[in-house]
């Protein structure tokens, strides 16, 4: 972070970003509920150039038994990147980055899922990144919420996610890969619009206290846009339309 590549123009004099977007404009987002045949629920998302598939199984028995909890269900999340999803072929072994993101997404989903409705059992969320651009964790979290809903898991709300950030001293919405590499800050945000709670929040890069507050606000507003697309995807699957 922090002006890594000074030669790239991230924001031109008209306030237009390197991929033609305005500062508060998200990339193209396409969400599809369902699609997988064997999973209990699934979703597919294209978020800019990210392509991510999520499958959900459960509630189902936990093996070994002692990993289960008599009071509550447990949520298990695996975030995984395909070898061909990134620039240089990724080693198939799970990286420390993948393990951390799995944990962060799990904790972002937990407030949304009514775990107490299925004690002793587990719900498994398998996230597969087929093609990665900037912001895979937000795209993954967004799709995971839809897949959980598609699986009929009881939920308090859905988590919508998008990143805010800073390039050329300007707060922007939805950081892409170039902006993440060459920009000044990247702040992924996951938000439940109905419950008004931020459940995922991270930051890499330098922000003044004021920029920090602005980023959070811009991110939360962006999540509301994403949330509408999540609902639309579910409506399309279950009612055959886009909610119009």
């Amino acid at each position: 972070m922090g002006g890594r590549d000074a030669t790239m123009v991230l924001l031109d004099e008209n306030g237009i970003r390197c991929d033609g977007r305005k500062v508060d404009e998200p990339r193209r987002i396409m969400i599809k509920a369902g699609g997988l045949k064997n999973a209990d629920g699934s979703a597919y998302i294209e978020f800019g150039d990210n392509k991510i598939l999520v499958g959900v199984f459960g509630p189902r028995d936990v093996h070994p038994k002692h990993m289960s909890n008599t009071d509550t269900g447990i949520l298990r999340v695996r975030y995984h990147m395909e070898p061909f999803s990134v620039g240089e072929r990724k080693n198939p072994a799970p990286s420390r980055r993948e393990i951390e993101i799995s944990k962060v997404i799990k904790e972002a989903l937990e407030p949304a899922v009514m775990l107490d409705k299925f004690p002793r059992t587990a719900v498994d969320v398998f996230i597969e990144v087929l093609q990665a651009d900037g912001g895979t964790r937000c795209a993954a979290l967004t799709a995971a919420s839809v897949a959980l809903a598609d699986a009929g898991i009881p939920m308090r709300d859905m988590v919508a996610a998008i990143a805010a950030g800073k390039v050329a001293d300007t707060v922007i919405l939805d950081v892409n890969n170039e902006e993440d590499q060459a920009g000044q800050a990247d702040m992924p945000i996951g938000y439940m619009p109905n419950l008004e709670k931020i459940t995922l929040l991270q930051l890499d890069g330098v922000l003044t206290p004021d920029e920090y507050k602005k980023c959070v606000q811009v991110g939360v507003d962006g999540c509301k846009i994403v949330y509408d697309l999540q609902k639309k995807a579910l409506q399309e699957k279950y009612f055959g339309d886009g909610g119009d």
């Binding site: 150039d49 499958g55 199984f57 061909f84 620039g87 087929l130």
Partner: protein
Amino acid sequence: MTSASVIDELKKSRILELLELGKRVDGRALDEPREISIETNAIPKANGSARVRLGETEVICGVKIQPDRPFPDMGDKGIFICTAELLPLSHPTVETGPPGPDVIELARVVDRGIRESHMIDVSQLVIEQNKSVVGVFADNVVVDYDGNLFDACSYAATAALLSSKSPKWNWIDDAPTLVEGEDMPVPIATIPVSVTMGKIGTHIIVDPNGDEWSSMDARITITTDSDGNICALQKGGSDGFTLEEIDRCGDLSVKVGAKIREKLKEAQKESQ
């Protein structure tokens, strides 16, 4: 993917009963593979890719092409490696963690079918002899399971390779250096096609689906090349084949393989 439940036993009986009448559970002829759909360039940022559906089995293959160091004593040849992985979302029984013997065999058989056909001319993949070569990695991931991963992965990898464009590198200042704007197709010598046959009782069926797969006694995967020659074979499962059955499977693999090769050629054309 093993099982021994009552339901499984009933399924197997039903499958066998139908086979005695010359029929299959999904209405196919015994030598008829399921419908194949091939979508190339599913992963645009990869150097090549394909999403293949074989019935309800679905596989995505992405090809990455990048400079690598040659293997010892192989300094005049590039590298070709094909892998296969069952994603846990493909079936409720798939576990995460290091691959078990089934998946290792799957990956090695798919790799060998393509490698032994000499589909990729690795002698053309040298940047600087003994120092730097081109590595071609075709990684398959299974996203939905309904039997016969051998063929589904093989078709996905072959289609992905047929659609691949390789960047070009020159050897400058002791390092491989990318030459912009000179992407070329990967050098292809033949199109291998694997055909997997299951044996249930005394019946041989082509392209077993998931229920057939868990009911079968033995299996054989035979890969043929564009000349109609046989270039790789793997027998599996807990029963044997008679000499006559092995001969018949060989003939089937040539006949069925020829039809599937046409589909792969079509997909290649569409990708360009």
